[in-house]
Symmetry: C2
Subunit: 597 residues, 2 copies
């Protein structure tokens, strides 16, 4: 069974080759007229300058953090000092590897993305189909690299820390190793925190600066070359949506893999089957295959060129095709999660209720997660497409001026929390129920029996299922800034109206797919919260051997106070981030005004 | 001990007489020039039209709700049908009485408030001191009536449901009665929900309408008689801040009294002392006395007239005097809460740790709540006064236009959650600790012993302490719309600049005191959340006799899902309210634009 470790490693390496193929496909394309190249160069320089500066800071801080993490683990806490040192250095090294892999995938992905924009703009002078290919595959480089490096990183660190393939046959080593690789996820989180906040704050400040001074004060159109903030705005789209979101989902996939592996330890110890620990990695590998097939479905022939559209919206047709590619990914993922459950989730003391085998129940739990990801596609479209009530309500509010526009926008923003949360809650409850139909006999020495292990693993399988399509989703996400940039390059490069029509159509699609990824990232994190929380309690139990650790009681004053503070942190961190946007936008506006004079 | 029921009833009746005295003081004053009277009449008519319309709707819905509540209690649930009918009709009747008392206090309070505005404006033609007296005492009518009617209502319903004074000597009756009066709090909540949302939505819509069309589109000053939305805006200040906030705190004081009385039942059953149940009512009565003394401290002689201010800000001096009045209220309240603890909180099996008597520990817990209310005065001033960082940051952001202003405003809005929550958490933790120093021997038949009864009662005493100053706070709150209206009447009544200076100074003070009351209302509700939650668990235990009801475990999937949904509701209800503001503002703006043409 331990040979299954080669599945994620093999698929991960193949995926890297696939990304090389996609990058090669894009970089072979021509880069357009000299005017377009000039704009693209400015964006490239800006984006790389930002990324270099940002990663330099992150690198220094990451090294410091790795030292602090190691020192805390080595010096504090209870127990044998050799064990503590062992945990400390493994965690610190994994931390640095996680941070490095996250940074590397972000760097290469964004390099290709900012090389794809002028190529997309140039392709748009020929056809919508070609422009779609260039931008989607350019985005896919980032998407597939992120997931592949996350998977390879976790798998290889796990294999090395176990001492190679031989270690995976020793039960004591296998049970210990998942908690040694936690640092990988922590390193990825560390980079994600900075990359998301840095990129996000930059992009919003540039956006506000460009729009407020350009559109409102100077009354010139979007992406007008006279507006000095326009390049910054185009750079911002890349560093926010491509690098930031990539780091976010790198972290999600890594942390959720590791969390599920830790949950698997108790099940491994009871069932004597390492499959419970390897399951997340194998399923993720299947997801990469599914995403690649879904991506390859999208070909120039599936879209309709604007001049042959006969009144239909070519952008809407392209969006539909991307959605079909996504559905294909999901259908293959369903097969993958059932297959993974069948191959890996069995062993001593495992039985399903109603005579249905355990792998079917877990396969259904995984399918719940996959269906949730599809639900998010529709919920996002409902809240971001102009055909539905929310956007129309905001549009109607603009007739009575900025105040009602902002009020209505905030109302819709607050409202759009509800449906996703209900969907997540439904998926959590259902996958818990499905998982709890599997009975797993666990000796009291391993787990006190106060929690429903099958149910909790069911939610973990649902999270794995949801994240199977991660590479495809990220490809669509980075597709967003590429098409947005292509629009800017077309506009500033002085291209014909017909070319602009093509980039506009793609840009519209990109706005929806970008919004989709945000929802997907949040949903997978929310779904994973229960699994990570449960994994934390499992680890705590393994130290304390006291069933009371599983009791987190809101009727207890300290938990009540902690919950109050926790809810407040949501507002407090939002305040810090929004405030930083305000301060950066202020500087931006002052600089743009200065240049305008 | 049961004779202490006459303390809240006696003090409540005296407070009603005090409110009559204050109303008489205000209504005797002259109403200014015919021009001022004309504006004041328009505000009066608008406010009364709104209130009549609103209360008519609320009355119909309240009767329906009372029937539904009664029917649900009578028909559903388990147990003896006679007991269920008994609970049902008591609850329905208490519901209607609670709703009626809340409505009555709101109605009379607002009547006096909208009669005070022109009298304040007229007094401002003579002196700041007189204007302060008229506006503060006009506001105090509302403040004292709200608290007095809430206290009288709970006390008299409790006494009647117990079958009169004789019933209070029968342990079985005493133990049952607190759960029969829950409907009173529910009725008050019902009115508060509608009054706050109705008033709040109206006032914000009118505000946006008046400012956007008047100030921004037509470029005329605030409170300009040419702006048709100005009267609506002035009406809105009354229905939002006076009627809405009054109903809010009527509900808070009633619900928290009842919740604490229910918590007291277990302690009564163990200690054979009804003082544990009567304590909240007696302490509230002491609070009314303290508030009245604090209010009477504020006299014309304590402020400085603008022409004698010699460069100092007369508004700031007036604010300081209101703060001194508040501190006086608080100091007397501290005495009151110690006295109440000494007189009422004793009995069989009660002892304090470290040899310190129980009443001292509970007195300290009550003092914690009082100190929290003072902390809120300073936190509110920090976030609303122009001398500190938050307001200055927003002011600086206006230099770079509306976008940065809104961004910074939202950031400060999100940020200002943190300090209050930390203060509340500190008070909760400290009062729980102080209360837990009291050991109360409770037989397992009454309480399973899994919770710390003394600690929970400590948080209840802190909540009681915080709410002792409620009448004073509400007086300052209604002072806000009265001075705001007086400013509008002065402006539209064509008064001299010097008069406007006085109303401006008072208006500035009123803006701070209005903000303060919002914080106070939220803080007391948050502080009470733990007490109400614990009271709910106590009632649940009295039905189920199963210690598991006290376990609300976040590691349990159903609690986890419920928590997710609970947090979402916060955003969802905000969305509904904000959306209603947007829709109402839209109609308002369209109407104002139509009249301008």
């Amino acid at each position: 069974m331990s040979n299954y470790i080669w599945v994620p490693i093999g698929v991960g390496l193949l995926t890297v080759l696939f990304a090389v193929y996609l990058a090669n496909f894009v970089l072979r394309k021509d880069t357009g007229t000299p005017a377009m190249q000039k704009v693209a160069d400015a964006i490239f320089k800006g984006a790389m300058a930002f990324l270099n500066r940002q990663y330099r800071t992150i690198a220094i801080l990451a090294v410091l953090a790795a030292i602090v993490v190691g020192a805390v683990l080595a010096l504090l806490g209870q127990g044998d000092s050799a064990l503590k040192w062992n945990l400390a250095w493994h965690t610190s090294v994994a931390f640095l590897i996680g941070a490095f892999c996250s940074g590397l995938s972000g760097y290469i992905g964004m390099y290709v993305a900012v090389k794809s924009n002028s190529r997309t703009a140039s392709a748009a002078t020929r056809s919508l189909g070609e422009a779609l290919m260039v931008s989607l595959r350019g985005g896919a480089v980032s998407g597939f690299l992120v997931v592949a490096l996350s998977l390879l990183g976790v798998s290889i660190v796990f294999l090395s820390y176990a001492g190679g393939p031989a270690g995976l046959t020793d039960p004591a080593t296998v049970a210990l190793t998942p908690s040694l690789i936690v640092g990988f996820g922590f390193g990825a989180s560390f980079v994600a925190l900075f990359a998301q906040l840095g990129g996000g704050i930059y992009t919003k400040a540039a956006d506000v600066g460009a729009d407020l001074v350009g559109k409102v004060e100077a009354n010139i159109p979007e992406d007008d070359p006279r507006n000095p903030a326009v390049i910054a705005d185009l750079v911002g789209d890349n560093v926010g949506d491509c690098a930031g979101r990539g780091a976010d989902l790198f972290e999600s996939t890594a942390a959720e893999n590791i969390g599920a592996m830790i949950l698997g330890v108790a099940l491994f110890s009871s069932t004597h089957n390492i499959g419970w620990i390897l399951f997340p990695l194998v399923v993720r590998a299947f997801g990469l295959i599914a995403s690649a097939i879904g991506l390859m479905y999208v070909r120039p022939s599936v879209v309709v060129e604007p001049d042959k559209a006969a009144g239909r919206d070519p952008g809407e047709i392209a969006m539909t095709q991307l959605s079909i590619g996504y559905i294909i990914t999901c259908v293959i993922s369903v097969v993958g999660v059932f297959l993974g459950s069948y191959l890996l989730l069995s062993g001593h003391g495992v039985s399903g209720s109603d005579g249905i085998p355990a792998w079917v129940w877990f396969g259904l739990a995984g399918t719940t997660g996959i269906v949730l990801s599809i639900a998010f596609v529709y919920i996002t479209q409902y809240y971001t497409a102009g055909t539905w009530r929310p956007v129309r309500e905001i549009a109607a509010a603009t007739l009575t001026g900025p105040a009602t526009t902002i009020i209505t926008g905030i109302a819709v923003g607050f409202e759009c929390v509800a449906l996703p949360v209900l969907a997540i809650c439904g998926a959590l409850g259902l996958s818990f129920f499905l998982g709890s139909q599997v009975n797993i006999v666990i000796p009291p020495s391993i787990n006190p029996g106060v929690i429903n292990v099958g149910g909790i693993f069911g939610t973990a399988v649902a999270t794995m299922g949801m994240l199977m399509s991660c590479a495809y989703i990220l490809a669509m996400d980075t597709f967003g800034p590429i098409t947005d940039n292509a629009g800017g390059i077309t506009e500033m490069g002085g291209q014909a109206e017909s070319v602009r029509d093509i980039t506009d159509a793609l840009d519209g699609v990109g706005n929806t797919t970008k919004a989709l990824t945000k929802g997907y990232g949040v949903a997978s994190a929310a779904l994973a919260a229960f699994l990570l929380f449960s994994a934390y309690l499992d680890v705590l139990y393994s130290y304390k051997h006291n069933a009371a650790v599983y009791r987190v009681d809101l009727a207890d004053i300290s938990v009540f106070i902690a919950a109050l503070i926790g809810i407040t942190l949501m507002f407090f961190f939002s305040a810090l981030a929004i405030r930083a946007v305000g301060a950066a936008a202020k500087r931006m506006i002052e600089e743009v005004r200065r240049q305008f004079r």
